[in-house]
Structure formats: structure tokens, C-alpha cells
Symmetry: C2
Subunit: 412 residues, 2 copies
């Protein structure tokens, strides 16, 4: 590993989270702290990820965040302050044009460090750029820093951004449970939670169960095939016990034949990565339950606030998000490259973690499912072991600054 | 006015809010404070409003809340801890059966004070009970205490519960605006906000505008007829200026002929008070905009969290909610009856209010619309005067107790 001298660039990519700016703040802090050893001089921010980088839309973050107080505000600002993109790079073995263009920009700005904060699709970008630059004479350090509310990256114990989304979901579920408990008439409330592939976010809806004694009656994750007849059976059994049934479902639940539950109401559109655009799982179930049971049924889609509700962020998550950003800079300045930062869990009680890194090419384009031991046998709830595992991730509250009742956000 | 000696009963009715338990806490505090003058002995809570009262499902709150710390927890618990109902009482001049039954229960438990916390429909209950008991030899003090996130009760400047819902909406809108700003592609985001009749909640989505400089581009309230062609025109104009348009709409917006925008997607069902059950206004607009503009469009229904997100309650609202409950007891113990508690605004800058009360029969079944001066000429946004008026209501943050990342709620 060789220490490179030059400038650095950082970008944010993929869906925003409540914690992705905390990681950006961590990178900025890392550069400020490491600036003395001279390896990194200026830190540029690319607007809208690699899309903006290709247009040379760069901003000097070293200058912009000279004031430490602004970095703290950035930590409490949701969404990607630099802007984001959903650009998929081609296979560098088949099409090198875009990579040549990127390399020319790196040379032009003397950029030797590339930090990319994102989820699965962004790690694909990092892996491809890593592969392309491997054979080149222009030496570079390329680092992926994970963020995704989906928590579906392999190798890392969990992903920055997940804890805050999980806390929003866990807290909101507790509030919905209180709301649903006020009437005596039979009613089914279906809460649709994000999660196309993995059920981590939906699992978070049960976190409060062991703390308050109240949790959703049924929890369905995409890791198990969904059966409408079993669902009806479960509902009827619970309704005999108490009138207000609350159900948490992942948007991505599907039947045994692979058809999504929302298929009927989906637009059929796919995004640039080929993922089906899903919506309406809760609505589809609402209509099905209404037809079968005839009782009051409503569906609630938690929607965007899951990824941007910074006012109820998890302090653990924000602290870890800052930490992976800062550690990425430290590792890079020591010559580490082509790696994604990871969080290793040393122990759950007490909660102890260690920041590390791992080969990005072995992380990109893989999905980490919810463990079998975290889903009960019938596939209609999570286990106590799951809740125990998740609790530390939502612990602690941040203290954002408020101005006349509104949290202060920062824009770049 | 005559001072009555006896027991009291308190109930919660209608849709839950983040602040209705704060008012219940205020009533409990009021009774504890006034208990020395001997007018009120035991405070009963009726489970599920008058519905539970008719079944004599009573709980002794004096005993249950002997510990002050439990009252504080109650203040930070969303939804109606006593349970709620949506029972409509008959006209006491035509059907006295239920009133006779209630009176028998009042006599049995020596109840001389009746406190009912609720919105418009609950004030109908209070007004009818007030009218029925007027001619009776069993003297009673009957008090309505307002709560509704809708803020649509007349006489009072605003209603307890509105400020917290408004804060949730204002804060969430700021977070959604940050989230929507990350991409460069043209996109329209439609945020559907509660409000069947009045647009107060939707107006709250603009509160952050003067604080952060960012607000929804378009705001449509039910106080103005909605025109799809003007909406398309407005959207196109804004999209020429910037790519991410955010629109706030009340669920109850309607065309000039009175048809609701969601009519096509509504179930057509009506509740016991004859109100149409609305849903899908955002979805209906999403489909219309997609067909007209062809760009990316999504709709977000803020849904239940609007009325139960106690974790982001307005401190001003919670304090006022406690206050109206406490003052209702004080007024009642001085002989005031057949009144609804009100909040008078003395001044906006600085924000000063006075707690008072007014004849409930002149409040029930009326609707307070958003003032004309609060809506701009084109009817597609609120005025700065509106924002100035609303800001004080969302000021201040509460400090709920957390246990392992989850706010502590109390159940009765």
C-alpha cells in the first residue's frame, strides 16, 4: 500500500437517508484531521454523484466547511446535501468511454482519492471504477462508504442509515399502535414499509415490542413466501382475541410463485437498475381483507419519511455514520484502496462495534437477507432474537438545533 | 352559578391526537389541585367515551394517577388513553332514552361534573347533554374541552391538538423537501394532508417556508375550488424554473361543482355522522399529472402519524392542552357549566393567549374555515400572514422519556 498525495472527491449516490450527510460530515472531519500529514489537500464534493462529476460540477468542501458548527448542522440534515444520482456505469471491460472521461477529470483536478457514499448500486460503481483503474498508471485510492436504509449490504453487520430509518419505523409503529387501540370496533390496520428485497426495515416495526409490550400482531417479510389464505386465517384468530389488529408488511412481499402481492396495482415500470417499481402492497391487502372479512380495514404507507425523518434519527446510527466517513479517510490516507468500509459487531450486550473494511468487488450486487433465526416458524412475525439484535441500532436521540419549531437543515 | 359537591367523570371522544392525553392530564391535575375545596371528590374516567359510560365502564383516575410522574408520562402519550368512540346522541327533544340512562348512571355514581374532551362531533354530545339536563332537578356541570387536529372549531382561536399535528406536518414537509431536492430529473411530489372540510393542516405544510426558505411550491386547501387545468398550468410554469416540484393538498379538495378530487377513488362510504370517507386525493392527482406531464410523479399520504406523532409534539400545544384541561376543572368548580373551553389569542408577537370558555351550543356543528386573508389570490398557496399566524403554535419541543430508543407511553 502506497500513500498518495493529491486532492480528494466525495459523492453521494442512490436513495437519500437521514444519515448520509453524517457520513459526508465524517469524510470532511477526516480530511480536516488528516490534512496535517499532507496526503489530502482539497476535498471536492461532486454534485449529484458521478453524474455531476462527469460535468465537473464540483464544490470545494474544505473551504465551505471551515467552520465546525456547519459540519454539526450537516450531521442533522436529512437527504443528500451534495445531491444524488442513479447512474449505472457500464462494464469497464466492454465500454471504457465513461471511465476515460472520469480519469481525465481526476488528472485535471489532481484527484487521487475517490470516496463514494451509497448503497448496493453505488458499490457497483465503486467496484467498476476500482476494476478499471487497477491496470492504469494513474494511481488512485477508491473507497466505498456504505449507506442504505435497506440494510441489505453483505459483509458489514449493518449499514449506516438503517438505524435511523429503523428508529423512525419503530417509534411510528408504537404511535400507530396507541392510535389503533382507542376504538372497540373490529379493525385491521396494515402498515406498508419499504424493502424491495430484504425485510430489515419491516422487522424494525417490532423493535418496541420488548420495550413497551406492544408490537404489530403480524409481520411479513419478503424472505418468506406470502400466503393470502394463511394471512386471513391469522387475522381471524387474532380478531377473536382483540379488536384492533395491526399488521406490518414489506412492500416487496410475494406469493410462492414469485408474483408480488402488489403486482395488480404496480405500474410495471422498472428503474435503471432493472428493479421493478413497487407500490400499493398495503392497498392491495386492504382491499383483499375488506372483501374477505368485511370489517374496517385501512392501509398506511410509511413512504418517504422512512428515509428522511432526521428529527427522530438514531444517535447510534448518526455517530456510526460519521465514524465510517472519518475512518474511510484515515484508511485511504494509509494506502487502503478498492474497499468498502464495514461495521463489525463485537458484541450485542454491551453493544460494541469495530470499524473495518472489505473488498468492494465481493460486496457489490449481493443482497443480505434477514437471517432465518430472525423469522418465526410460521413466517408471520420476527423472533425475540431479532428484536434483541436490532435494539442497539436505534438507541439514543440526537439533539438537532431548532429554529422557531423547525429543525435547522443545511444546504450546499 | 352554584358550586356542586360530588364526583366527576371525564371522557375522550372522536379521533385521537398527540395532545388529547395532555388535556386529560390537565383535568387530572385540576382535580388534584381543587380537591382541597371539596367540590370534586373522585374523578372517574369513562372508557371509550359515552359508549363506555353507558356500560358503566369507569376507572378511578384519582387513585390511578396518585403519582405525579405518571401524569407527566400521560402528557407525552399519543392517542386517547381512555379509549374513544364515535357515538352520536339523538336529539333530546325527540328521544330521551339514552339521556335518562346517562342520568341514572350520574345519580348512581354521584357524578355532578361531566368533562368531555373532543372535536366538533363531541361538542354535539356536550351540547345535547347540556340541553337535556337543563330542565332537570339533578343539577350538573357539563363542560366541553376542545381537541381536534383539524382546528375547525369556531370561537376558539385554535384547538389543542392542532399545534402538534401542524408541527409534525411542517417538520415532515421540510424533510420531504430536502429528500426531493437530491435528483436533477423532473419530478412532482404530491403530499396529501388530512382535512376533510378545513385546510388548516395543509396550511401548516408551509410554516417552514419563512424559517428555512423552503416550502411546498403549491398548496391547495378545500376553502377554494380546485381546477385541474390551473393546476397543470402552475406545475408547468414551476417545472421551467426548477426540476423538483412539491405540492401539498388537503384530502378534501373539490372541483367547482362540489365533486371531490378523490371521488373516483373513494369508497363512497359515510361515517356515523354522515361524513364521506375520503382517501386517495394524492393518488388521483398523481395519475392525472402522470398522464398530462409524463414526468416522474409520486404521491405521499401523511396518514395517521399526523394525529399520533407525539415524539415531535409542539411544546406550546402540549402546554396549552394541559392548561385547558386544568382550567376546565377550575371553572366548573366555580359553577361554570354548558360551556366549551376556548383559547383567546391576545397577541401574536409576542405570542400571548388567555384561556376562557363559551356557550357550547353556539360552537357545536359549525366549521371554522381558513380565513380569506390566509389564502393567496390564485388559491394555490397560503399567504405570509398565514405563516406568521401559525408559527407560534408549533414552537418548542417536548422532552419525552425514552427507553432503549423508544418513547415511553402510558396505558390506562
Amino acid at each position: 500500500m502506497k500513500r498518495l498525495i493529491g486532492n480528494a472527491v466525495v459523492g453521494q449516490s442512490g436513495g437519500p437517508t437521514a444519515a448520509i450527510n453524517a457520513t459526508l460530515a465524517g469524510v470532511i472531519r477526516g480530511v480536516k484531521e488528516n490534512v496535517h500529514d499532507g496526503s489530502i489537500r482539497t476535498l471536492y464534493g461532486m454534485r449529484n454523484g458521478v453524474e455531476g462529476l462527469l460535468d465537473e460540477r464540483l464544490v470545494d468542501l474544505t473551504e465551505l466547511f471551515a467552520d465546525d458548527k456547519k459540519i454539526t448542522s450537516l450531521e442533522n440534515t436529512p437527504a443528500a446535501a451534495l445531491g444524488s444520482c442513479r447512474k449505472k456505469l457500464p462494464d469497464p471491460e466492454k465500454d471504457t468511454e465513461v471511465f476515460e472521461k472520469l480519469l481525465a477529470i481526476f488528472r485535471k483536478y489532481d484527484i487521487r482519492y475517490f470516496f463514494y457514499i451509497g448503497g448496493n448500486d453505488s458499490m457497483d460503481t465503486v467496484a467498476k471504477l476500482s476494476a478499471y483503474t487497477r491496470g492504469h498508471d494513474y494511481e488512485m485510492c477508491i473507497m466505498g462508504i456504505p449507506k442504505t436504509i435497506d440494510n441489505d449490504l453483505v459483509v458489514t453487520d449493518h449499514t449506516p442509515g438503517y438505524g435511523s430509518a429503523a428508529k423512525y419505523i419503530a417509534v411510528t409503529m408504537q404511535e400507530i399502535l396507541r392510535d389503533c387501540a382507542v376504538y372497540t370496533t373490529k379493525a385491521v390496520t396494515i402498515v406498508e414499509i419499504m424493502g424491495r428485497d430484504a425485510g430489515w426495515l419491516t422487522a424494525a416495526s417490532a423493535i418496541g415490542r420488548d420495550i413497551s409490550g406492544h408490537g404489530p400482531d403480524l409481520v411479513y417479510l419478503p424472505e418468506r413466501n406470502f400466503s393470502m389464505s394463511e394471512f386471513f386465517e391469522d387475522l381471524k384468530n387474532i380478531l377473536e382475541d382483540h379488536p384492533n389488529v395491526v399488521v406490518a408488511v414489506s412492500e416487496g412481499i410475494h406469493f410462492a410463485d414469485g408474483t408480488y402481492v402488489c403486482e395488480g396495482t404496480s405500474s410495471g415500470a422498472v428503474d435503471v437498475f432493472g428493479h421493478k417499481a413497487l407500490s400499493g402492497t398495503g392497498k392491495a391487502l386492504e382491499l383483499a381483507v375488506k372483501a374477505e372479512l368485511g370489517c374496517k380495514v385501512r392501509s398506511i404507507e410509511l413512504n418517504l419519511p422512512q428515509r428522511c425523518a432526521a428529527h427522530i434519527a438514531s444517535k447510534t446510527d448518526i455517530d456510526e455514520s460519521v465514524c465510517v466517513g472519518r475512518e474511510a479517510v484515515r484508511a485511504a490516507s494509509e494506502g487502503v484502496t478498492r474497499q468498502m468500509m464495514t461495521i463489525e459487531r463485537v458484541s450485542t450486550k454491551p453493544y460494541v462495534t469495530r470499524i473495518s473494511h472489505s473488498d468492494v468487488s465481493e460486496i457489490a450486487n449481493k443482497i443480505k437477507w434477514v437471517d432465518d433465526r430472525f423469522i418465526n416458524e410460521r413466517g408471520n412475525n420476527v423472533t425475540d432474537e431479532c428484536v434483541e439484535y436490532l435494539v442497539p441500532l436505534i438507541m439514543g436521540e440526537t439533539a438537532p438545533e431548532y429554529d422557531r419549531g423547525i429543525p435547522v437543515h443545511i444546504t450546499i
